[in-house]
Symmetry: C2
Subunit: 314 residues, 2 copies
């Protein structure tokens, strides 16, 4: 029973809003505003921050300013900066930037690569078969590791595909093992369109933790059908101690149309702190950052705690 279970004393959270969130905004956010928001996030106590991506600017113009953003942000040394790398070309560009980046710290510390576990989603997303993606990433990961970068790999549609329906757990774990063998130190399992349920999550995460040995297992849930935090609870209960989320509940997959995206970091942190699970994040500072992005975007966001405020016990 949850009340008696040994929930972890603390978990790791990666804030992905500046990449996953900003890239899904219909209007491009000015670089200076991005930098201001990222610097606010970097001072909330979060220790992992996905800042931008090296996708082709004609494909995702929202993140075409990756180099400018990385040059301008002021992020403390103890916050790991990660960037999303789509393929070898993206890695080339990222490594070139790393070489020419001045300043007291590296431009970024981690890369985040991705593919989908289901063929149809992967084809629509990157126009490759899953095998082709795997072969590409098996070239990317060792080069990134050789450059001293920590590597995370995200397996999208791990809990279901909006085009194909069920995705076999055995296939997801086979993909994860290939990525781990190629050098990924962390595998994130993405519930890309919010199809996961807590029972499924509990079983899957327990198996993944058992099968992936020393590789960090991260859960990346979406709140598409309101079950995001229930899935977090199931993952926690199964032993997961690493999560990804987005301030303001920004981002996520626009399938189904109109659906909300990632779980809100504020809601995640609120629940964890209320349960006595530490995150290192100052919820009030995080809410201030989410309030700023709400102002920048000029619309209400999906985050609940941003509206209601944190629980006050006295």
């Amino acid at each position: 029973m949850l009340a008696e279970s040994d929930l972890p004393r603390a978990v790791r959270i990666r804030e992905v809003g500046p990449r996953d969130g900003f890239q899904n905004e219909p209007e491009i956010i000015p670089t200076s505003e991005k930098v201001r928001l990222i610097d606010l996030l970097a001072r909330t106590g979060v220790r992992r921050l996905e800042v931008t991506s090296f996708v082709r600017p004609d494909v995702i113009p929202q993140l075409a300013d990756a180099a400018e953003v990385l040059a301008a942000v002021d992020i403390p040394q103890d916050v790991a900066i990660s960037v999303l790398i789509p393929n070898e070309r993206g890695l080339d560009n990222a490594l070139a930037l790393l070489d020419r980046h001045p300043g007291p710290r590296r431009a970024f510390d981690e890369i985040n690569v991705f593919l989908s576990a289901s063929e149809t989603h992967n084809a629509k997303n990157v126009n490759r078969t899953v095998e082709e993606s795997l072969v590409g990433l098996e070239a990317v990961l060792p080069r990134a590791a050789a450059a001293g970068l920590r590597c995370e790999a995200v397996v999208a549609t791990s809990f279901g595909c909006p085009y194909e329906g069920r995705v076999e757990s055995a296939r997801v774990l086979e993909i994860a093992n290939r990525l781990a063998a190629a050098g990924a130190q962390e595998i994130a399992f993405g519930d890309t369109t919010g199809m996961a349920n807590p029972r499924q999550v509990g079983a899957f995460i327990a198996t993944a933790l058992a099968r992936l040995g020393g590789t960090e297992v991260t859960a990346h849930f979406h709140n598409t059908r309101g079950q995001g935090l229930a899935n977090v609870l199931a993952a926690l209960d199964a032993g997961c101690t690493s999560f990804e989320s987005s301030f303001g509940e920004l981002g996520g997959c626009p399938v189904p149309v109109g659906a909300t995206g990632n779980i809100a970091t504020e809601d995640l942190v609120s629940m964890l702190h209320e349960m006595g699970v530490g995150t290192g994040i100052d919820l009030d500072l995080l809410l201030a950052a989410a309030d700023e992005v709400r102002t920048v975007l000029g619309r209400s966001l999906g985050s609940h705690t941003l509206v209601a405020g944190p629980v006050r016990w006295s």
Copy 2:
């Protein structure tokens, strides 16, 4: 662990939108529209439906048409109709209506009485001390039972009070025991302003089930901070098999200002069905009813599944 736990095969859900939801709308919904929406809900497979209340019409004008609504709805015999009763005067009016109600079935089958576990919330809500409320309900419940009505009692602020902070579980259970002794066959514990967390819920529900013997224990969660379904999961895991929710995520307490209310019945049913827990409800019919209330209200609602649609596995 959740994946291995014996989740129940089925749970009971009471749809409270027509009372808890409609009373919180700033614009009064026309009686004919209420009746149409209630009749839709009554054909979704839900077996418990809170239809209206007998509060003073000057206090809650939104539900001043209680008698007209009860006279006009067409609800199958196997759907238990409940009405909210605030006090003895409300019971007098409800029993008078019951006596004069024509037609093939009674006007209602259950009453729902309420108080808050915390003094300040109870004073602001009904202008009584908790003890005064208890004494009043100890008069109401036996009279209702004598009229052949099933009695539910809701204990608001069971998991925290927005004015006082922590509410002692021992006090909540003491109140629940008084209500059970007075004839309540079901006690609902309300997380009135969404302060509960899953760890707290798991511990509380387990204790309540152990202490309340043959009395049905119902969980009534709000999604104020996005944790509504996580709290459902914790309650389920602790053995709870009865829940209350509202179609469209209507209703709930307007404290904090702007906060969302009850958990959405669609989101609850989606999660339960995906986990293999039966509800008797046809999710597509429920979504159709929620879509209708969205049209009547002319605004977007908090329900996630209403936007995203149900999970389709093929």
